[in-house]
Amino acid sequence: MKSASQSLLFLVKFGCSFYVLQKYGVEASVCVGPSMEPTLNAQGDIVIFEHISPRWGTLQPGDVVVAKSPSNPHSYICKRVKVVGDKPFSSRFWKYRQRTPQYVPRGYIWLQGDNADNSTDSREYGPVPEALIVGRVFLRIWPMSQIEWIGRSPKISTN
């Protein structure tokens, strides 16, 4: 029979290990909202993302990322990287809602949803600091019928 303090210690050990695995390794999350259609469904897909690429700064245009929302510190967004700041040939981007050329500086990332008509993204709030990027989505595990790797090229809408 284990004593109470022993099982508490066990709980702390494994709780903390799980936390570290989640925050520094891979994490699962539900993505709700129409902005990434047709790559992700609006009803709420469960995706797996890793924290390593943003930490090492190896994100590339096309990657689907989870980021803290610049317009709400309590929520997260899931978008596709369009431009990584201050790389050759990609540093200027047309911000078409304001009709002015938008410069993506070093350390910032331009995010856009695949569903351009129904997405609040960098076109609205400008380039996003890299520090807000939490992880790179690489796998969808729910719904069951649509388990697949998430790559750098957006899905083409079929309808």
Partner: protein
């Protein structure tokens, strides 16, 4: 070597390994001690240039249940360099208007953003150069000075900061 049995050694190594995730979790969730470099927050932190490096307590857990208020000192990730941390005072919150310190331009703070400034106006890289900053960049409250002992104690929340006549609040909090 009778006092050092293999079993005891194994226990020690196990303990050391387990302490790694526990320490990381503690630092990430509850808080850490941090060293402050630079003088942008003098005279509150690092008052005299060149003489001292203050240690402060960065409180992270309170972010989970208490929203940021005007006048609090916070640690945030530098917007243009994710590996750098800044320590600044929150001067204005979403919905407020503020006159920037350098040029007389009235800025509106958009949703989810805030305006941060160093207490030492001129030596500070802050919202006066960078503009409004996403609140999501904030990683913790700087609540306590731990070292040097002479200035040990809670860091006061100065709701107005140095911005008394530049801030037009949207609502009084």
């Amino acid at each position: 070597m009778k006092w050092l049995s293999w079993h005891a050694l194994e226990e020690v190594i196990k303990g050391c390994l387990w302490s790694i995730p526990i320490t990381i979790t503690f630092c990430d969730v509850i808080g850490t001690v941090a060293k402050v470099e630079g003088y942008s927050m003098s005279p509150t932190v690092n008052p005299k240039a060149g003489t001292n490096v203050d240690l402060v307590w960065v409180d992270r857990i309170s972010l989970l249940f208490k929203d940021i208020r005007r006048g609090e000192v916070v640690v945030l990730a530098c917007p243009y360099n994710k590996n750098r941390k800044l320590i600044k005072r929150v001067v204005a919150l979403e919905g407020d208007h503020i006159w920037s310190r350098t040029e007389s331009r009235l800025t509106y703070i958009p949703l989810g953003h805030c305006w941060v400034e160093g207490d030492e106006g001129d030596k500070s890289t802050d919202s006066n150069q960078l503009g409004p900053i996403p609140q999501a960049l904030i990683e913790g409250r700087v609540s306590f000075i731990i070292w040097p002992w002479k200035r040990w104690g809670r860091i006061p929340q100065v709701p107005q900061g140095s911005s008394e006549n530049r801030l037009i609040p949207s609502k009084v909090v």
